[in-house]
Symmetry: C2
Subunit: 267 residues, 2 copies
């Protein structure tokens, strides 16, 4: 049974998770439960967990930790009471030794006693804030995926995890750049303030029209390229480290929490 | 050989650490290397480290993590290049099963291959900022230790670590309370904004004249008690968990980094 999207948009986070748990919603989550924090999901066996925890701690802009669960724990606690990480994500990607092996709506059968779950902030919250501040977001205007670039800035290493910082690009009108910095700085849990403004070549980006991931967007006269740390950064580090097994959300199919973005915002 | 304090106050963080490493400075560190972040130190065997890491992640106001090292690592990296955590703290407390067993100037002999080092923010930075904003700090005026109280607010548990939130009190003139919130909110890595303002009974504090740690200070007419999360919180949780061994700095004898507080401040 396919549910009507307009109806789904009115549901609470707990109602949405129930729908997802029943397998009745396995589509992307942008636009659902507006105002509530959605999270990227990374699940790893305990033997890799400390290194990954360190990697996030050392690279908080691309890897902002919202929650980490004890080994084997699948209940989320106060961040999303009643939620179960084995069933409440619309789609999971299963990687073995760095290769995408399978995509599932449920990982109950795959669950291991030593799985450690990490929830990381995703950029929906800060895009919401930019739009409220009347700052245009080109890839939304053009109905594209945000353009992403691999920079020549190395992340701080942690055990087996290393890799370059990946950034997203949003072209911002010159007169709104300072405001864009201020607005996003309030949301450190979703990448926070930009990591770089203007001069893409200074961070190893040669051609803005050829992003490494996502799609190129138009940059108009009077706009400056502004770069934010991107949640693909830990994905790149994860795949490169080739753990025996690793489960993530399928891109765009996030975990929906009961925590408001404004509860997490600073100042 | 005792060094003259006035001379020591002019030294850089690296020079101070060298002095400390040689055993020539084993006294408290407040006032040294002004502007540079000083850190609380907690060192634990790896089997306790994930739980403690989670405890800090879940209770960032009392336990703001500045740096975590891999198991066995004693070099600090970019936070303090060239530093060695085995020798560069003026005094270490050695706890076994929750009891203070020894105090040392060097833990080279005690070092274990599985020791994990945590560096946590300490409140010197935000007191510096309050003073710059012309906000008086009573315990400094009265040359006392800051008064600390055990609240009835539980920390979020993590594995073997649990316990109450401990807070510090600073009486603030009514007209400066909002400013005190703003000033300290910029320093989330050293406890950030207050956790409670006024009404001590609402957080389980019955008598401000009888702090659980530190010394009582005078509260004048026109002042409101303002409470900040306190770094004693993880100490209480640590001692209660009774790990076989745990090494911390001796109170007041901090690790001095090469990182400026302003580099860590938000906005």
């Amino acid at each position: 049974m396919r549910l009507r999207v307009e109806k789904v948009r009115t549901l609470s986070p707990a109602e949405l998770r129930l729908l997802i748990r029943r397998g009745e919603w396995d589509r992307p989550t942008p636009g659902l439960a507006p105002g509530y924090a959605q999270a990227n999901v990374v699940i790893l066996p305990a033997r890799y967990a400390v290194d990954f925890f360190l990697f996030c701690q050392r690279n908080p802009k691309p890897c902002p930790l919202l929650e980490v669960l004890e080994a084997g724990a699948y209940e989320i606690g106060s961040f999303a009471p009643g939620a179960d990480i084995r069933t409440d994500v619309p789609r999971y990607n299963i990687f073995r030794r760095g290769n995408l092996e399978d995509t599932r709506k449920d990982i109950g059968e795959l669950w291991q006693e030593d799985f450690v779950t990490f929830l990381l902030g995703c950029s929906f919250a800060f895009e919401e804030a930019l739009l409220k501040a009347q700052i245009p977001i080109r890839h939304i205007e053009e109905a594209k995926n945000v353009p992403m670039y691999i920079t020549d800035i190395p992340c701080r290493e942690a055990g087996i995890f290393r890799g370059p910082l990946v950034v997203t690009l949003r072209p911002i009108p010159y007169e709104k750049v300072a405001r864009a910095v201020q607005v996003t700085a309030r949301y450190p849990f979703v990448h926070g303030a930009p990591v770089h403004i203007g001069a893409p070549d200074r961070i190893g980006i040669r051609d803005l029209s050829r992003p490494d991931f996502g799609e190129a967007v138009g940059i108009r006269a009077g706009e400056v390229p502004v770069f934010w740390a991107c949640g693909v950064t830990p994905q790149v580090a994860l795949l490169d480290a080739k753990p025996d097994i690793c489960v993530t959300h399928t891109p765009g199919h996030m975990f929906i929490s009961d925590t408001l973005n404004e509860e997490l915002a600073t100042s």
